[in-house]
Every structure is written in structure tokens, then in C-alpha cells.
Amino acid sequence: MSTLETQAPSGTRVITQSQAVNEALAEELRRDSTVYIIGEDVAEAGTPFKVMSGLVEEFGPERVIDSPISEPGITGLALGAAMTGMRPVVDIMFGDFLTLIMDQLVNQAAKIRYMSGGHFKAPLTVRTTLGATRRSAAQHSQSLHAWVAHVPGLKVALPATPADAKGLMKAAIRDDNPVVIFEDKMNFATKGPVPDDDDLVLPLGVADVKREGEDVTIVATSSMVYVALEAADLLAGDGISAEVVDPRTLVPLDRDGLIRSAQKTGRVVVVDEGHQSYGASAELAATIAAGAFWELDAPVQRAGALDVPIPFSPVLEDQTVPTGESVYELAKGLVR
């Protein structure tokens, strides 16, 4: 069985990813008076996905701030606040809108510490989404985490489970650097066990083995972890034991963790929902190909979103993303 079963082991509660994020935000708002949230419809609406329900009631509109529809503006404001003593969380409703904040994120936030010779810090969290199959078409379905991971000075987290979503969000808020945390919009209702711990902070840069195995490693990010686990179940039916490794953060990247698993199994598939060309999967695959070169029995394979804009029609959209079946076929091809 995977480690993601929804029964609660002792010392845990089963909650949704949405609740997990809500708890993380509430706990950090409670713990640190410099933490605040700014974004579109974050207050009374609690975001369109209802992730922030109840926060404005507890913390007030001064700390859960409904903003105009001005993504660059709120990101710039958050940076200025972060440089002068605050710890803002900026809510960018859809990951596609990262395109709008690129100057503030890439030219400003990512570089202020380096450009200033270490005099400034920018403890800023950008919370946004990734993921297709919500029938939202080309401008609300992209997975643009590779764009952000390409920029030195930014950190990038991709939680797959409620526990990871909570622990990584708390770590992001406490980090002294700009951190962009992507939640798959299809996973807000996904349930999982979360430790009963109001101080659940996961270190950034530590991969997690979501399922142990011997014959093939499937490295999977964000919701692709579930796709990988589905593939692992199918492989098990063929007598193939698959290990599923979730890097959890792209920056910093737990290179050793990925290489270790590859050295053990000798075969690797990397699954990431970004477009495959020039995507995060390329960096992960290259890391493994170099680090586990002598132990690999086959070339590292990759699965990502098809290199097309995400189409609207379900029959078309479903063609664009990796599935348990497609990852199973890819992995099986390596082991055969």
C-alpha cells in the first residue's frame, strides 16, 4: 500500500489538502504578527477554492487583505513589506497569472538579496496553483513551476499531500527567501493523514519516498505523485516493484535523495505536469542521469504535459497530461 491511505494512523487526522493549507496559514498568522495574506478574494470569499475560509473572521481584514485584481501590484507591495519587516503571503489565484508578476518576482524579489550584497532579505511566500483537467482551458490550467525554478534566488515547493501542503507552507512562510508554493487545484479535496502537531514544519529540500520499491523508480511531483502511485499499483500487478519518490521542492532540490533511489532500482521515470520540453522533468532526469550513471540499466524516461496549450474539450485535454496508464506503460518499457 502507498503511504497515502486516508485512514488516520495514530497521532494524525485525515483532512483535505484545502484544510491543511488553511491550518498552516492560520497557525502562522497566530504565531507571528508580521505574517499577513494579500490577494484577490482571500477574505470573505476565502478564495474561489474556499481554502481560506474563516481566516478573515479570526484575523481581520488588516491581515487577510482583499486586493484589487492587480497581481504585479500586490507582489510588489508584498516585496516592499517583506524588505521592511513583514512576512507576506501573496495569493495568486491561478498559476497562469504568474506571467503577470514576473518582473516583480524575477527581477525584484529573486534578486534583491544578491544585488544588495546580502543587506536585504525578502521573506515572501507566493501561493499559487498548477494542474490541468479542470476543463478550464489554456489560461487557467498551466503548470509553470519550471519558469520559477529557473531563477536563482527563488525557492519552489510542490506539495502533493495534505501533510506536505501544511508542512511546506509553514516552512515557506518562515523562510527568509521568496518561496513560490504550487498547489494542484485538482487536489484541494484530496484527503490524507496530517500529524497532530501545530508546529509541523517540513524542511525545504528533502525528498519523500511515497512508496518503496526495488525495480523501477518513478520520480513524481505534485499531483503526479498520485499518477505515479496508480502506475505503481498497475506495475505491481505485473510483478514489478516500483518506488515512488517525491522531491517535494524543486529548489532546493534533494539531488542525493533522487540519485539514491535511482542507484537502488537502476531504472527511472520522471513525471511532472509541466510541459515536457525544457521542463522541470529535464532537470530531474539530468540530475539522475549524471548522479546514477554507473548504476542505471536504461536511459531515464520522462512524462510531462504534451507540448500544446491546454485545450478545453475534455476529450482533448485528457490527452495532454500523464496518467497512471501512460506512466505504467513507460515504466514497464524500462523494466522489460
Partner: protein, 329 residues
């Protein structure tokens, strides 16, 4: 320090003299920066503030040390006016380890945290968000700090400026948007790029807008004092347009400018609207300083600047191994 009608120039005599000295220091600094470029001693290039000194000095003399500014690619004047050290600035211009940013920022990224300078910025309009966020932070932290956001009229083409003005007005943030209209977006007169009235932009947001002669340091100072007082008292943002002129080119290498402006135009501004000459004449007329005293202020500034240049030239470059330092906190 306070504005007073009983003094001949309408401001405290000490303040008037200090503003003269600060403008002279900036002028001398920029002339030396130009020489460093022409002598091939400075990597890259730089954008000179000569001609606009009254704006930075008038504005920064309306601020406390713990107030913030954000600056632009043409930022040396703002930086000095807010209290930066000449040695560390020249060292940064030359990419030396003793520079404000340990040589990693250069001319366009000098920041001076100790004096509240949140940094020059090489993206036109790029610091408007930072300035407004610092103002929001001041309000949230319960301080009465005020922020002056310097930007040129070229930034009027950037959407970010209007986004943050909207939020500053909504939330009554203590920020002064100080548009330095030096007439040229790089090599294009602003009239070719800017529709409508510049100062009128503020009215759309319900922000008080004021236009001021950017060659008159006393007028700039009084105008910004009013704006700062409004911000400090919770009255929200102000939009100030200071009309000024860049005596040199867009950058130090922009020396053949006939295709975008005439020599006559440049001569007119230099001869008739030099902010230093103007204040100097008023100080002498009001018997606050003799021509000899003004000359000695200029000499002192030149000596300070020359010492700064020597310091920077003699300072070591950073160790190559520092290239990976400070990517992350």
C-alpha cells in the same frame, strides 16, 4: 529645520545652506563618475543626475533618516541625498568589495539600508511596488514612517505605477510618488509617449497632485514636506511632479544628442535653470552666504569626492569565490 516665514528664503537658514552643499556634492560626484567612465576605470556605464539635484535634495531633506526611499537607474543623487557614504558609493560603481552591495549591484542597484534607501532599480517603474509595500508595512507595523518613491516620467508608461497608486489611495498608505519629469524617456521627448496631463493622473485615484519647479530646491522641499506631513498623519499618498532637466545624456555614453534635442535647449537649461546656481544666487542675495563661502563649499565637496574616488580605485575587488554568496538568505 521647520519652514518659517521669518527667514529670508522661507526655510531655515541652516537647511538652505545644507541643501546647497548636498546639491554641490551630488554634482561633484556625478562629474567624477563621468570621468571614471571616460577614463575607462568604471565597468559598464552609468546614468548621471546632473541638472536634477534639486529634486533629490529637496525631497530627502523633507524626510527623517528612518523614512524610506526607492530610487531609479539614475539614482546616485537620491542615494547621496538620503545620506549615503561617498566612499562606499564609488566603490560600488567600480565593482569593489567595499561597495554598498559588495560589488554585486553596481550603479543601478545601490541600496543603503542604514539610511532607508530600499534601492535603485534598473527596471523603469520597477520600484513602485516596493515603495508602496514599504508604506503598507510602516502602517501595519504602527510606525509613522513615510516613503518617497522616485521615478522618472518614463515610468508613466508602466502599468505597475497605476496599480500601486490605486492601492495606496484605497488604503491611505504613507507614500509620496515623486515623478521627476526630466523631459526625456531615454532618447524620446515625453510628449511623444505621454497622453494627457501628467499631474492629472493623480486625480483619477483621488490622490492630491502637485506640480513643482524641480530646479528650485526650496520649492521642492516645501512641496514634499507637505506631502510627507500628509502621509505621516494618515492622510494617504501624494503625487508630486517635479519638472526638471537632465543636463547630460541618457547615460554617460550618450554624447551625440542632436537627433533628439538641440544644443540651444540644453544651453538654456544649463544657463538659466541650474538648480545650484539658482540657490547660490538666492543665498548671496539674502546675505546668507558670500560667493567665497559658496566657493569653499564647492572646494570641500570636490575634495571629499576626490578622496572617495581614490578610496574606490585603491579598494580591492571582491574575491572571485564571493560569486555564490547571498543568493539566498
Amino acid at each position: 529645520m521647520a519652514t518659517t516665514a521669518s527667514t529670508p528664503l522661507g526655510v531655515d537658514n541652516e537647511l538652505a545652506l545644507r541643501m546647497y552643499r548636498q546639491m554641490v556634492r551630488i554634482r561633484a560626484f556625478e562629474e567624477a563618475a563621468n570621468e571614471l567612465y571616460r577614463g575607462a576605470k568604471m565597468p559598464g556605464l552609468t546614468h548621471l543626475y546632473i541638472g536634477q539635484e534639486a529634486v533629490a535634495v529637496g525631497a530627502c531633506e523633507a524626510l527623517r533618516r528612518d523614512d524610506f526611499i526607492t530610487s531609479t537607474h539614475r539614482g546616485h543623487g537620491h542615494c547621496l541625498a538620503k545620506g549615503a557614504d561617498v566612499n562606499r558609493m564609488f566603490a560600488e560603481l567600480l565593482g569593489k568589495g567595499a561597495g554598498y552591495c559588495r560589488g554585486k549591484g553596481g550603479s543601478m542597484h545601490i541600496a543603503d539600508f542604514e539610511n532607508g534607501n530600499l534601492g535603485a532599480n534598473a527596471i523603469v517603474g520597477g520600484s513602485a511596488g516596493i515603495a508602496t509595500g514599504a508604506a503598507q508595512s510602516a502602517k501595519m507595523r504602527g510606525t509613522d514612517q513615510v516613503v518617497v518613491c522616485f521615478f522618472g516620467e518614463g515610468a508613466l508608461g508602466q502599468g505597475l505605477v497605476y496599480e500601486v497608486m490605486n492601492m495606496a489611495a484605497l488604503w491611505k498608505l504613507p507614500v509620496v510618488y515623486l515623478c521627476e519629469n526630466n523631459q526625456y524617456n531615454e532618447y524620446t521627448h515625453y510628449s511623444e509617449t505621454t497622453a494627457g496631463e501628467v499631474v492629472a493622473r493623480a486625480a483619477g485615484f483621488g490622490i492630491p497632485g502637485e506640480e513643482v519647479d524641480g530646479q528650485d530646491v526650496l520649492a521642492v522641499n516645501q512641496c514634499v514636506r507637505r506631502a510627507v506631513a500628509r502621509g505621516r498623519e494618515g492622510g494617504g499618498p501624494t503625487f508630486v511632479v517635479a519638472n526638471t532637466y537632465r543636463f547630460h545624456g541618457h547615460h554617460v555614453g550618450d554624447v551625440d544628442r542632436a537627433y533628439y534635442r538641440t544644443k540651444d535647449e540644453e544651453e538654456d537649461w544649463k544657463t538659466n535653470r541650474d538648480p545650484i546656481t539658482r540657490l547660490g544666487a538666492r543665498l548671496v542675495d539674502a546675505a546668507l552666504a558670500s560667493p567665497e563661502q559658496l566657493e569653499s563649499v564647492a572646494n570641500e565637496a570636490r575634495e571629499e569626492i576626490a578622496a572617495g574616488v581614490r578610496f574606490a580605485l585603491d579598494a580591492p575587488f571582491p574575491a572571485a569565490s564571493e560569486v555564490t554568496d547571498d543568493v539566498y538568505a
